[in-house]
Symmetry: C2
Subunit: 228 residues, 2 copies
C-alpha cells in the first residue's frame, strides 16, 4: 500500500522563484521539519512583521507551536483571520565561488503559509505539547513531570496546517560562469557546516549523582541528525 | 576615549516580556550579529507575513541584506513605509528539566524592527556587498572577482538600521520548581550544541589542484566562532 501525498506549492506565494532550488515532494518537507528543533514564526501586528524563534513539533500535516499565554506573537498569530508564516532553515555549508556574485550558502529551508488555530481543551493541548516535546527529543515526554492545570492555562498552543508550503534546497559546489572557471584566478569550493551536540551537562541542583538517561545520550550522540 | 552606545529596546515592541532574558547593551547585539552568517527577514505582503533566511552583513549601526532583483521579499521590504523585522538566532543547547513545562533551549537571539532602505548607486551598492561578503568570511571580498555592472543591476541591497532592536538570551541549567527538584524523579541538565565546520571541499571544476586559501582554513578552523 502506498500513501499519496498532496504536493507542496499550491499557490503563487508558495511557489519559489528559482525552480532549480525548489522541491515539490511533501516528504522532503516532513524530513526537513523533523530534523530541526527550532523554526521562525512570523506574524503581522499593526501592519509590521514580527519574527521570533520557537521550538515546534509535527504530527501528520500539522505543525504545533507553543509559548506563554502572555506571548503576543502567539495571540496575534491565532486571532481569527490572522495569517502566519513559519520557516525552518538548515545551514549545510558556505559556498565559495570565484565571482563575488556567486558566493552562496548550502541550505534546506521550508516555508509554511497559513492561518494558525489556537488549540484548546485539556486533552488536545496535552497531545500537542507531547508532540512538541517528543519532536525535540524522543522519549522526553514520559521522562518529565506532566503539566499541571495551572501550567496548561499558562501555555498557548497553536496548530498550523502545512498544506500551503514550499521547500528550497541548495547543495553542491559553486556555480560560476565558465569564463571565471577558465580564468582560474581564485580557489572555489564548499566549507560544510553542521550542528553537533556536546556531552550532557547535569544540572548543579540534582539531588544525587546520576547519569543522563540513555534516550538523551543516544539522541545527542546521533551525529547524523542535523539540527539548526 | 570611550564610545557610548545608544541602548536597545527604545519602544514597547522591542522590549521583551521576560526581563530575565533581556539584554540592553548594544555591544551584545553587535557580537550576536557578527557571530552569525544567516538571519531571517520578515515582511508583510497583502497583510500576510513572509519570512525567509538570508545572509547579511553589519557595518556600524546598519545591517545589509541582499538578493536577486526579482526577490519579492526585498522589493516589498524596501518599499516606502514598509516595515521589516530581521531576526538572528544562535542555538546553544537543549535544556532538559524535570517538568515538561520547564524544558527549554539555551539561545541568543536578536530582533531588529524598522524600515529598510534600498541601497542605490554603484559605489554604495559595492560597499554594502563588500560588507556582506566580508561578514561571511573576512578576506573573501578581495579573493573574488568583483561584480560586473550587469550583476550589480541584478542585485537588490537593503539597509536596515539597528536603532530599534532587542536581544534575548537564555543560558544555564533548567529552572525547575523546588518541589520537582526535591522529588528527584528525573534527570535534569543541558545538552550543549554548536555548529562546526568540516574541511574545505574543492570545487570539482577547479582547473588545477590548489589548497583552500589560508583565510578560509583559519576561519573555518576557528571553532570558537559560533554560527547558526
Amino acid at each position: 500500500m502506498t500513501t499519496s501525498y498532496t504536493p507542496l506549492s499550491p499557490t503563487p506565494r508558495s511557489t519559489p522563484r528559482r525552480r532549480d532550488r525548489t522541491r515539490t515532494d511533501r516528504r522532503e518537507l516532513y524530513r526537513l521539519l523533523d530534523d530541526a528543533i527550532v523554526g521562525h514564526l512570523a506574524v503581522c501586528i499593526d501592519g509590521a512583521p514580527l519574527v521570533l524563534p520557537t521550538i515546534f513539533g509535527r504530527n501528520g500535516d500539522s505543525v504545533y507551536i507553543h509559548g506563554s499565554s502572555a506571548a503576543r506573537s502567539l495571540r496575534e498569530g491565532s486571532a481569527p483571520g490572522a495569517a502566519v508564516c513559519f520557516t525552518v532553515t538548515h545551514l549545510d555549508g558556505v559556498v565559495f565561488a570565484r565571482a563575488a556574485a556567486h558566493h552562496s550558502m548550502n541550505f534546506r529551508s521550508a516555508v509554511i503559509h497559513g492561518h494558525a488555530r489556537a488549540v484548546t481543551g485539556r486533552e488536545q493541548k496535552l497531545a500537542a505539547l507531547e508532540t512538541i516535546v517528543e519532536h525535540v527529543t524522543p522519549g522526553l515526554w514520559t521522562h518529565s513531570r506532566p503539566p499541571t492545570k495551572k501550567e496548561l492555562a499558562q501555555t498557548q498552543v497553536l496548530e498550523l496546517d502545512t498544506s500551503e508550503a514550499s521547500v528550497r534546497v541548495r547543495q553542491g559546489p559553486p556555480a560560476d560562469d565558465l569564463a571565471d572557471v577558465e580564468a582560474d584566478d581564485y580557489w572555489a569550493g564548499v566549507v560544510p557546516m553542521r550542528p553537533v551536540f556536546g556531552p550532557a551537562e547535569p544540572s548543579p541542583d540534582l539531588r544525587r549523582h546520576r547519569a543522563a538517561p540513555a534516550y538523551i545520550n543516544s539522541w545527542s550522540q546521533n551525529k547524523s541528525r542535523v539540527i539548526c
